[in-house]
Symmetry: D2
Subunit: 342 residues, 4 copies
């Protein structure tokens, strides 16, 4: 923490701040500049939101934090990358992982058909929503428990691991029994009760960035899960809300290299929700591979024009097969030629 | 819903769309323009998210919704304003209502002292957080149940109604027993499980707009509560997230007249969270009165420089008393002179 | 400037940074914390964008500026407020000033009629665009020189001072001859060639904040004008671009108290462009008075439904007269009761 | 244009609107729905901003435009892609084009050295700023005319075509004499006087998207240049302003496929300004290739730590050489394997 004094702060005021800093358990290192005195506060300023109150004291212009507020999510506290294992799959390892499936589970037939497409295309994990967070209370809210059972049935038949969203603390245990990965949706990124609860689960958690979540806050939400005891967190960039309306959200592609620098956790990209339009899903998926993401989360539906939710951003089977081929081609280039240049 | 065809759409494609519209239960009214054919879709397009999938069909450029997606929250379905009664108080009535108190409940002494300040200043409702949504898992998380008990104790002693936040579906009943108004925080604006649960409660709900919530989505979240059976909803504008960092959030003051036009629900303003700095709370409170809000939610603390959370945006007692006088003065002008001009 | 070293920075790296700081003409004050060493850089860090390059040196985590980048616009370099005099009018003085008129000058008749309305309502300055910045090259671009002549004619007849926009460096002298205040539009907020040019003019400049301009950048653009020799700058908040589409822009009402704290320049509000809808202009004008702005810029048109630009945000005469009465009523309360409480 | 009537609009009001539509020269096609009557307006609604005023008429809820406001920039008015030829180079053709060089021209030596690096790396065009748009009037403003001369000198010596920014209408002719491509900066995206002026020039124009420019507005600014007679426009995505501060701007990577769908103009990406940090320039450049952009604009500097502007986002020579290799490798995969799948 650095305390910046006002231009006209008196020597007396500076003395008072130094005493105050010491009274709350820190050491103060003033340095007198040409126009300003600044006071370095020595001690761990994480979790010390009280220090911010120094802005209330006479002569103080502002208080600037120095340390990043997250610990367990930071590269500073862990060497190497976190790799999450689901059976033989590794998320965050050298292989690019693709999770795909319909937005909502609508029927056994639709889910089974989707799983077949996912498998045929060569993707690794089946996604499908049983509990659906819908903006409108009048929209289809998901098959709920019935959907979970279908998910388990299809998993058994196809051997594909599955991922599904959990929205309520009271459902965490139940959902955990039927899925391989628990998904926390963008709208629950700061539902701290839910974060603590999935932090106690024994399943990996895929955490989606919220529409207005900064990268720092994203990592703080991951920190809630990690500090509750679950170290299996997968981050998912799915677009942020900006002034641009040509796409449903704005895919923050830069977040991938920024996160790769700051954290050891794996990061995947959801181009379906980011763009909100199947037409842009292929190019954005290619960008995700090239930028260095660990995987993709893709919406695919046997008949998107009949989907009960998000049809317009779901791929038809043929387009999905093309996506898989494009991604594999680029992945090969990344793993061979690009890696050798790093 | 209006379906806009592409410039080069063929007569055949137009025929196909008309048939499709009819096949899903609507009537189609095509009108052929100079450059485009548009097809009006007749029928209630609310809750028919499936119609959006028409964008997938050949020859279609885009699908534009016509109706607002909320019903119960709309002025179209209710004459006059919703007035929420808490004892003798009316929120949404002619009188401007002020809720004030500390961000967090820290101790009996601190809460009691705060209540005394609130009452002395002439405010109407005591606020205070027992469960605190904090960005960091390492920050003070509130006194929880202990805080609820203190709230009830202070309510009994002072006669002030109280409002406090509920963050978890499993706490709704408990919190409801100890408070007069249930607060749903900005981070839970699309925690649909929580919205449904408070929609079943018998207490009024103060619903805070999220950082990235559009006005339409804000009303859809209110619609969740209303359609679950609770018609006692108070909206609260508390600032949205923008690129500007001079204030913690950007108070969207225009949201007040926009909401007054669209909905019958009362709307109050939280200038403390909007600005994040006590220095701006007074002028923004004056703006809230003048723009036509129904009340304010204000953070006040006996000693903000020692607060465990949000100290920097909390008012000292003296400033709070000044705020109360300014607000009352402007309210008088609004109620006498301005109202006569409308 | 404060240089924050990485957690694992070596003593050697710290030594190197200290030497580098001294080699570019500053003094370095290291303070060694528990987790980080920070190095205070002593010397004027304004206009020293080179110091930022320290982030390129080994062991450095980030470089944080301490000083505000503007000088002449800052309260630190001038006591009291800048008051701009136009004849007997004072902008930035105790009286609230209202500039009103049509978006575009369309004809002599329309401008004359508008001026009559403005005067009858009791406003102080006539606005009207001769050069119009239009998003589309196919929209009406203004009467240009013809419009300037009409402006001068109407000024002579009515005695009202006039304000009009200048968009091109080559027009500054010409426009200056026909107007009392030069307006720089939101889209030219960082047209530095234009800022320098109006900085050499002898007329006051009304500078509108851009759609994505931070408050700091806004003051830096004012600094361009001030440092070019023109100290007659009026700031105008006209809404910023956010994700919300219910209004054309989002009026950043908090910018008024923030700017009042940072700068001595007068600040007015343009609720017409901020909201883009006449329905919201009255409440937002009231908010502008209450928050402490120095004046308003309002669009009024004899027949808005026939306006060649921005009709939907222009007030009809009757609504404008009502606005003037409401504003005067609130101004009275502000000047008598509220001021006494400060 | 579609006019949506209010729920309670009377038959009389609907009649009035139909008459009004006809009185301003259009035909009206009403369709009566269950909850609303909508009126299709037949006729070219482009450049008819007056129709928007219908919102002022009794019974009207809103007016919705149907047509895109740009013509010349649209794929609807031109088959195939615009290819811009500079000597043997083609921008917008099958080959990926890289423009690189220092942010500012600082000296003959620095520019010459930069050109050598650019050429050695295999890039195609040299960039360098002579006139610099700086937020602060106290920052280095460029070598101006002296810089233009150096640019020409280096062009002659190296054979590299050059691109440089023009900021003032009065400089367009002069800058045009010394450069192969005129650059219009992000801050001048809606400097309409400048757009018209470069629209009369005989050199290609690289138009950078502004920080708060929607894709539609971006194309409208291109339309200003095209409709002034210059059909040689290159679009450049360089990041938009959002709430996220981890990067200088947020690269809107989705804008590339969206623009490819809407316009025939070539589109390049500037990852240096988008991210504001050299560390992210390589991964973002790879993403630009994979997403389907036509080229890159990259900042490279012989000694970034000594640069007079933007040092921190400039690549050192070694990193630039690596970038060139990575880009070429991905381009090969795109041109061979990916293209075959389309």
């Amino acid at each position: 923490m650095v305390i910046v004094m006002k231009k006209n702060a008196t020597g007396d005021q500076i003395e008072q701040i130094i005493k105050w800093v010491e009274s709350v358990g820190y050491r103060a290192h003033p340095s007198r500049g040409v126009e300003r005195t600044i006071i370095g506060v020595v001690g761990d300023d994480r979790a010390k939101s009280q220090l911010k109150s120094a802005e209330y004291l006479p002569g103080v212009e502002k208080v600037m934090p120095i340390l990043k507020p997250y610990k367990l999510a930071s590269r500073e506290t862990k060497d190497g990358n976190t790799i999450i294992r689901i059976g033989n799959l590794e998320i965050g390892g050298p292989k690019f992982i693709i999770m795909a499936g319909p937005c909502s589970i609508e029927s056994e037939e639709q889910l089974m058909e989707s799983a077949y497409i996912v498998k045929k295309g060569g993707a690794h994990i089946l996604r499908g929503g049983a509990f659906k967070p819908r903006t409108s209370p009048y929209s289809f809210q998901g098959l709920e428990v019935e959907g979970l059972k279908l998910l388990e049935k299809v998993r058994e038949k196809t051997g594909l691991p599955v991922i599904t969203e959990v929205m309520n603390t009271t459902d965490v245990d139940l959902v955990g029994e039927h899925t391989d990965i628990l998904q926390v949706g963008a709208r629950n990124i700061q539902n701290f009760a839910l974060l603590k609860k999935v932090g106690q689960a024994s399943k990996p958690v895929l955490l989606k960035r919220g529409m207005a979540t900064t990268i720092e806050e994203f990592l703080m939400s991951a920190e809630y899960i990690l500090s509750s005891g679950n170290d299996q967190v997968i981050l998912c960039e799915r677009g942020i809300r900006t002034f641009e309306t040509a796409t449903r959200n704005t895919l923050d592609i830069s977040a991938i290299p920024v996160l790769k620098e700051l954290t050891h956790l794996p990061i995947i990209v959801d181009p379906s929700h980011a763009s909100g339009n199947w037409k842009y899903v292929l190019p954005l998926s290619r960008a995700a591979v090239a930028v260095g993401a660990d995987g993709l989360l893709i919406e695919v539906h046997p008949e998107p024009e009949k989907a009960l939710s998000d049809g317009i951003q779901s791929l038809k089977p043929e387009k999905f097969y093309q996506l898989m081929k494009e991604v594999m081609s680029l992945e090969r280039t990344m793993r061979t030629e690009i890696e050798a240049l790093q």
